[in-house]
């Protein structure tokens, strides 16, 4: 029990001694002349809930299909628990997949669907029955055991697909857009259910999604992909607060991007020349920038404060006019137009009733934020 001193926070990727469960080494996958995965290297650790996030066609589904064994890398290798799995067919891998369409067998009832994989293992009858019952209980489907897939709802089908893929206790469970077919409310509930089941079973989950909110909610780490490459791999909060590129900042959540040129002020503080006739902006950055280098200041709308008077002692303050208001119920996003035409979004919580809103269209307002609120990005 040498781990007692280490923190209880689960982050094996920070531990140099930890052995990854899955290892992509310089994997390239081409379909004809199209490169789906471009020289990609990635480690995924045991018990992780890992999300592959990206727009459609970014290669995330190809990654998953390579893990399941339906596609083979053109170059490079994929290891599962230290073993190269290139030549292992799908039916011999300790990997199960939950399909986007759920792929439930329409001719079998729910019980037989869940038992399908166990029957292939020639499990003794009693063990098999016990395991199926356990899965039915885990996914709260006991009542539907004798129904056929077309006789249950979408959310229930989703749970059957999950139960079926978990029944064989795989080392790795792959989830291909598992919640895509569910409506928003059900999706949110199911996200928590998924996390709960992942924790209970201790299985490593790799989820493919194009929904950034879903990835942020469920995953321990998120890999943002584009055009077959990993753009950034980090925990959800780091992806959100410390994006490494404009692409990631823009893909995850709402963001203002202000382009300018840096000049160093202190050790890691910079002032940014960004528009003629506007005061320079101040920002801190851990990465260093040369004087006169092009930079992008990424700042989240909720970190921009909107006031009617000029705020005292603010690091950054600009004046503008309310161009538009997006009312989201709990939040309002103000689109403020600066004199040079730039639009900056500021978000505030609607703590008052809408009739008592402080600002309305065409009001002159001040926007302000601290030097540490934004992230300075080179590209």
């Amino acid at each position: 029990m040498g781990d007692i001193v280490s923190s209880t926070v689960f982050e094996p990727w920070e531990d140099a001694r930890a052995e990854p469960l899955i290892r992509f080494r310089n994997v390239t996958k081409r379909f004809g002349s199209f490169t789906a995965i471009d020289n990609l290297t990635l480690d995924i650790y045991e018990k992780e809930f890992f999300a592959l996030l990206g727009p459609s066609g970014c290669g995330k589904t190809t990654m998953m299909r390579m893990l399941a064994g339906f596609e083979h890398p053109t170059e490079g290798s994929i290891e599962l628990a230290g073993r190269d799995i290139a030549n292992v067919p799908p039916n011999k891998r300790a990997v199960n997949m939950m399909f986007q369409s759920y792929a439930l067998f329409p001719h079998l009832n729910i019980w037989d669907n869940i038992a399908f994989g166990l029957r292939r293992d020639k499990l003794p009858k009693l063990d098999l029955e016990a395991r199926v019952e356990e899965m039915l209980k885990l996914t709260r489907l006991e009542k539907f055991a004798t129904r056929k897939p077309h006789q249950i709802s979408g959310g229930q089908r989703q749970r059957v697909a999950l139960a079926r893929s978990l029944a064989k206790a795989p080392k790795l469970l792959l989830l291909d857009e598992p919640l895509g077919a569910l409506d928003k409310k059900l999706r949110q509930d199911t996200q928590f259910e998924l996390m709960d089941i992942q924790e209970k079973t201790g299985t490593t989950f790799v989820i493919v999604t194009h929904d950034q909110e879903e990835a942020m909610t469920v995953a321990s780490r998120v890999a943002v992909m584009d055009e077959g490459r990993l753009i950034q791999v980090a925990t959800p909060d780091r992806i959100y607060e410390n994006p490494e590129s404009v692409y990631v900042a823009d893909f995850i959540g709402d963001v203002n991007i202000i382009q300018g040129r840096t000049s160093a002020v202190g050790d890691d503080t910079y002032s940014i020349e960004w528009a003629e006739g506007q005061r320079q902006l101040n920002a801190t950055s851990a990465t260093s920038f040369d004087n006169g280098q092009t930079c992008h200041l990424a700042i989240r709308p909720e970190k921009v404060t909107i006031t009617s008077d000029r705020p005292e002692d603010a690091d950054n303050a600009v004046q503008g006019r309310v161009h538009d208001i997006a009312y989201l119920g709990n939040l309002s996003t103000y689109y403020v137009e600066l004199p040079n035409g730039t639009i900056i979004k500021a978000q505030t919580a609607n703590t008052r009733r809408i009739s008592r809103r402080s600002f309305t269209w065409e009001d002159p307002v001040w926007l302000s934020w601290t030097a540490t609120a934004g992230v300075l990005l080179a590209n």
Binding site: M97, A103, F105, R120, D121
Partner: protein
């Protein structure tokens, strides 16, 4: 009113082209043979009115049906037809399933062409195609010549005028009826189901057996009935390709009508054949209905 007219059209069609002819055949089957035109008695003479109708009815009897049970020929012919239809359907399935599977798995752009190739033979007369098989299967036919030339056989095979030729002819002729419904079922099959089966531990073959076959079952059943039902009463193929030993009820029927000129017995044979066919037709309809319900 418009609805009633719309419904009336198919019923009128059924009445005029099925029920009325069937009534006539049924009536003839209850008559007695006679040397006359038409070759049976009694005939209904409406001029004599009600009494004429009563004497007409009293002269009808089930003698011909009783006769069918007394002569071995008929039940043997029914049984032999049933056996030949069953075996032929099995072979058609055996040949047709891989073809349908191949079509469903072919690249999308190839499928219309393959479909075309399946349907193409229909554009030539059925009779000409059966005659062509006589040319292929006869002792001096193409098949024997090729096999002799290849050295596979040293003596020509006797195929024509045997049951083998009948099976070949039936399989060839009815293949499209088997392929099309199976293809339709396989085409609808979601490819991810096969992947799911493999993912859950099935080999390719197991996945085929446990997923593909059960899910194409409605197509297999529909195709089998579409072949079995017409083959049971088939006449052209056994009379052209079959020999004297080929006993099929269609042939017996033809001989009763045209060689014996015994219309009443021939009609009785036809009525019994129809009653026998009602069973598989009902089963076929039930299968189609079940499939339609499953798709909703």
């Amino acid at each position: 009113m418009r609805r009633a007219v719309l419904i009336a059209i198919p019923y009128a069609w059924l009445l005029a082209l099925f029920l009325v002819p069937f009534g006539i055949v049924l009536k003839i089957s209850l008559s007695d043979t006679a040397i006359a035109i038409p070759p049976y008695v009694p005939t209904l003479d409406l001029a004599e009115g009600w009494t004429g109708f009563r004497t007409f009815l009293s002269e009808l009897d089930f003698e011909n049906f009783v006769w069918l049970t007394e002569d071995d020929l008929y039940w043997k012919a029914y049984l032999s037809s049933f056996k030949i239809a069953l075996i032929a359907t099995f072979f058609t399935l055996l040949v047709g399933y891989p073809m349908a599977y191949g079509m469903a798995r072919a690249p999308q752009e190839w499928r219309p062409t393959l479909m075309m190739l399946v349907i193409l033979p229909f554009w030539t007369s059925f009779l000409i195609r059966v005659y062509a098989w006589m040319g292929i299967l006869s002792n001096e036919g193409f098949l024997n010549q090729i096999l002799l030339w290849l050295g596979v056989i040293s003596e020509p095979l006797t195929l024509l005028n045997t049951n083998k030729a009948v099976y070949i002819g039936i399989v060839y002729t009815y293949l499209p009826f088997m392929i099309l419904p199976i293809y339709a079922a396989l085409d609808r099959l979601d490819g991810s189901l096969i992947e799911a089966a493999e993912d859950l531990g099935c080999s390719r073959l197991q996945a085929f057996w446990l997923v593909t076959i059960p899910l194409s079952r409605p197509g297999i059943i529909a195709g089998s009935f579409l072949v079995f039902i017409p083959v049971l009463g088939e006449f052209v193929i056994p009379s052209l390709l079959g020999g004297s030993g080929t006993l099929m009820i269609g042939k017996v029927l033809w001989e009763e009508f045209f060689s014996n000129r015994d219309w009443p017995v021939a009609s009785a044979v036809a009525v019994v054949l129809l009653l026998i066919l009602v069973i598989p037709i009902v089963l076929f309809q039930r299968n189609q209905q079940k499939q339609a319900e499953a798709e909703q």
